[in-house]
Amino acid sequence: MSRFLKSGLLCAGAALVALPAIAQSSGLGRAALPEEVAAWDIDIRPDGAGLPDGSGDVWTGEELYEAQCAHCHGTFGEGMGSWPMLAGGQGSLTHEHPQKTIGSYWPYLSTVWDYVNRAMPYGAAQSLTPDEVYAITAYLMYLNDLVDDDFELSRDNFGDIRLPNEDGFYLDDRVALEWPVFTQAPCMSDCKPDVQVTMRAAVLDVTPDDPTADARRAQARAMAAASGGGDAAASTPEVEPDEEASAAHSPELIAQGESLYRACRSCHQVGDGARNSVGPVLNGILGRVAGRVEGFRYSPALTGAGDAGLIWTEDTVSDFIADPRGYLPRNRMSYAGLRDADERRALVAYLSTYSE
C-alpha cells in the first residue's frame, strides 16, 4: 500500500482534514463559463462519468479503424513496427514477453474511450465525433474477442461491460512488501565471496552512436597500447578508429554463408536495392530490434518479441534459424530450421557483412 493511500487519503472526509481554513481567495481569475468547461472537460471515468450521448457499432468501427487507425496499429490490432499492439496477447502476462493489450491487460473500457477521444488519431486528436469514438471502441472490443460483430456500444450499455483483466491490478504495495528488506543496514565489507561479470551490454550492441564516446574509447586503448599502462601525463596518443565487428569473420566463413544463404533467397533479399518480399529485408539485421523493418507486416509474435526487447544478434539469429517455430511460436516464417551450428555461424557471418 502506498504510504499516501495508507495515511487515510481514500477515506471519506480526508480532504476536510487536509484543507484547514486557509486564506481567503484573491479574487484572481474569472468564472469559467459552462461552454468553456464543456469544451475542455472531456475526461471519462470507469463508472462512465463524463460519457456523452451516442452509440456506434462494430461494422462502422471497422471502417473508421481501417481508415484512421490500421496504418499504425495494424489491421488486426497487432501493431505495426513499434506502434502499440491493441488486440491479442490474452494469457501472455506471465510469459517472458508479455503483450499488454486492451483485451489482455487494460482494466477499464472507459480508458479506451477516453484515450481515443482525447488523443487519437495520432496527429489529428479530438477530430472524432462521440458516435465515431463509440464505434471504434466497439471495434476494438471485437478485435479482442470481447463481443460479436453485431455489437453496438452506447452510453446506455457502457456500464455493463467489464474487461477481462480488471482484477489484475492492485495498489502499490512496495512499502509494505519491499521496504522491510530494503531498509536493512547495508553490509560494508566482504559482502559476498566472489564477484563474476554475468552479462555485458556490449554483447547486445544496441547503444546509439556517440562519436565523442567512440573517440574517447579509442584514445583509452591507444594510450594503454602506447604507454603499457605507464605514466599517462607524458603521452599524447593519436586517436585510432574503431574496428568493425564483422572483421572478425574469415572470408572462408563468409563465403560458406553466402552459399548457404541460397536457401533463404526465395523469401529474403539482402544487399543493394534489397526490398521486403515474402520475408523482410535482411540488411542491417544484426543489432536491430526484432520485427522492426519498416513496411513489412510481421506476425504479432515477432513484433511482440521486439516490443519485449528481442534484439537480433549473432547469437539470437543463430538460435532463431536453428528452429524458428520452436524459438518463437506462432511466427510466420515457414522454414524448418538449420540444425548445424557451424552452418548457422557461417550464415550469420555472411549476413553480418550487410550492415545498413
Binding site: S7, A18, T111, A125, S189, V195, R200, T207, G229, G309
Partner: protein
C-alpha cells in the same frame, strides 16, 4: 559549499578513515602501487606557454555576439540523445540527459531530457489558459498574468521518468549512463503551490482526487491524490530562473515532487477536482508495473532511492592513466534527502562512504565524489544510495526477486560499470 556543511552528517566515523580501510581491504592501496602522484618533469617547453597564442593576441567576439549565450563550441558533444529503436516516431518518444558530461546538481535547461506523447505544443503566453473545474466552489479560468499575481515559491526538484533504466530489467543493454539513467533532470522551479491555487477555487469536502491535463495533442492526463496535491505540488512557469523551455511545458507545467515524471503534466491546461481516480491511459495501460505472477501494481507514483556513477562510465572512460582518480555520480530519492552514498570498486564486495558535496534538498539530485589512487587494475564500480528514511538502494537481483523482469518501470537497482585496465568502462551485471 564547505566540507563542514556537507561531509559530516552520516554515520560511521570520518570518511577518510573509512576510505583508507576500504582501499586496504580491496587490495588497491599500499605505497608501492600508487603511481604518478608527483609532478611530472616535461621533456621540452610547452609551446602553449612559450608561444603567444591567438586568443592572447587578437580581439575576440564583443558583447552581443550571442545575445542568448550558448555553451563553448568545444562542448558541442554535450547533447541529448535518443535511442531510435525504442519508439516509432520522435513526436511520441524520449531522449536522454547527458549526465556523464555534467557536474553539480542542476541540469542546464537545454539538456534536460524530453518525453513527449504528441510533440511539443507551441503556446504563446497570451494564448495560455488554466481552468480549474469539478468539485470546487468556483470553476475558474486563469491567464498567465493572473498566475503571476499569486504568491510564488522556489524549489529544486528532480524529475525522473518512471521508465528510467527500464531497458535494463532483463539485463545490461545500453552502454552509457546517458542511456541507462538519463531520463532525469534537476531544476529549480519558480511557481505557485497547488495549495494556493486550489484555494482560489475552493475544494469541496468530497474532493479527494485531482486530474491534471495538458494542452498538447495527447491531452496528457493523470490522477493525483488530493493529499499529495496539497502537500508539495506546484505549477511552475520558470526553470533555473528562466521561462520553461517549450519542450518542458512552456508556459506552465505541473510539479509533482518525488513522483514519476509522467505525472508532471506539461502545457498544463486544466485541473479537475473529483472524488475518484480517472484510470486514464497513462495510469492503466502504461505506468503500471507488471509482476511475474501476471498481476500489476497501480499508482506506483513514488520514485525510490537510486544512484549512478556518471564518471567514469561507458561514454566517459578514464583517460588520464593511473594515479589520482575522481569517481563522481548522482543520487536521489523521491522520499526526501539522500543521507549517504556508498561506492564499491569490486562489484559490491566491499563498500566505502562517498563524499556528498553541494546543497542537499528534499527530492533533489545529490552529487557525490569518491577520490582514490587507481593502480590500473580492473574495477567493478557501483554506487548505493541511502535516503533519510533508511531505504538502501537494492541490487538489481534483489529487485527482480520481488518483481520479475517485465515491470518496465521503477528500476532503481544498483548499476555496475566494468572499468578495464585501459580506462574503458562497460555496462555489466555481476553475480
Amino acid at each position: 559549499m564547505s566540507e563542514e556543511l556537507t561531509g559530516g552528517a552520516s554515520a560511521g566515523g570520518s570518511g577518510a578513515t573509512n576510505r583508507r580501510g576500504f582501499l586496504r581491504g580491496a587490495g588497491l592501496a599500499g605505497a608501492g602501487l600508487v603511481v604518478g602522484t608527483g609532478a611530472v618533469r616535461a621533456a621540452s617547453p610547452d609551446p602553449l606557454i612559450t608561444d603567444v597564442q591567438p586568443w592572447a593576441q587578437f580581439l575576440g567576439d564583443g558583447v552581443d555576439a550571442a545575445p542568448y549565450g550558448k555553451p563553448s563550441r568545444h562542448e558541442a558533444h554535450v547533447i541529448r540523445r535518443n535511442v531510435e529503436w525504442l519508439t516509432a516516431d520522435t513526436s511520441s518518444s524520449v531522449n536522454f540527459t547527458p549526465i556523464h558530461e555534467l557536474d553539480g546538481i542542476i541540469t542546464p535547461n537545454g539538456v534536460c531530457f524530453e518525453r513527449h506523447h504528441a510533440g511539443v505544443a507551441d503556446i504563446a503566453p497570451q494564448d495560455y489558459r488554466l481552468m480549474i473545474n469539478g468539485l470546487v466552489d468556483r470553476e475558474l479560468v486563469f491567464t498567465l498574468q493572473d498566475l503571476l499575481r499569486l504568491p510564488r515559491e522556489n524549489h529544486v526538484y528532480f524529475l525522473e521518468c518512471a521508465a528510467n533504466s527500464g531497458m535494463e530489467w532483463r539485463g545490461a543493454q545500453l552502454n552509457g549512463a546517458q542511456f541507462t539513467h538519463g531520463m532525469i533532470h534537476n531544476c529549480m522551479y519558480t511557481g505557485v503551490t497547488l495549495r494556493t491555487l486550489l484555494n482560489e477555487a475552493g475544494v469541496k469536502p468530497q474532493g479527494s482526487w485531482l486530474l491534471a491535463e495538458g494542452a498538447d495533442a495527447s491531452a496528457m492526463s493523470r490522477s493525483i491524490p488530493m493529499e499529495k496535491a496539497l502537500d508539495d505540488c506546484m505549477i511552475a512557469f520558470k526553470m533555473n530562473g528562466e521561462a520553461l523551455r517549450p519542450e518542458q511545458g512552456y508556459p506552465v507545467r505541473l510539479i509533482v515532487p518525488g513522483w514519476e515524471g509522467n505525472m508532471w503534466v506539461k502545457w498544463l491546461r486544466r485541473l479537475e477536482v473529483g472524488d475518484a481516480p480517472w484510470h486514464h491511459r497513462e495510469e492503466t495501460s502504461k505506468y503500471t508495473d507488471l509482476l511475474a505472477d501476471g498481476r500489476a501494481r497501480r499508482f506506483t507514483w513514488e520514485m525510490h532511492a537510486k544512484s549512478v556513477i556518471t564518471n567514469p562510465s561507458p561514454q566517459a572512460p578514464i583517460l588520464h592513466g593511473h594515479g589520482p582518480t575522481v569517481i563522481t555520480g548522482l543520487a536521489w530519492s523521491g522520499v526526501g534527502k539522500i543521507a549517504r552514498v556508498d561506492v564499491s570498486l569490486d562489484g559490491g564486495r566491499n563498500w566505502a562512504q562517498a563524499r556528498l558535496s553541494g546543497p542537499s534538498f528534499d527530492k533533489s539530485l545529490h552529487r557525490f565524489y569518491f577520490e582514490f589512487d587507481w593502480d590500473g587494475r580492473d574495477l567493478l564500480l557501483q554506487s548505493r544510495a541511502i535516503d533519510e528514511a533508511g531505504y538502501v538502494q537494492p541490487t538489481k537481483s534483489a529487485l527482480r526477486d520481488f518483481r520479475g523482469v517485465s515491470s518496465v518501470y521503477h528500476n532503481n537497482g544498483i548499476q555496475t560499470w566494468h572499468v578495464h585496465s585501459n580506462g574503458e568502462a562497460e555496462n555489466v551485471e555481476v553475480s
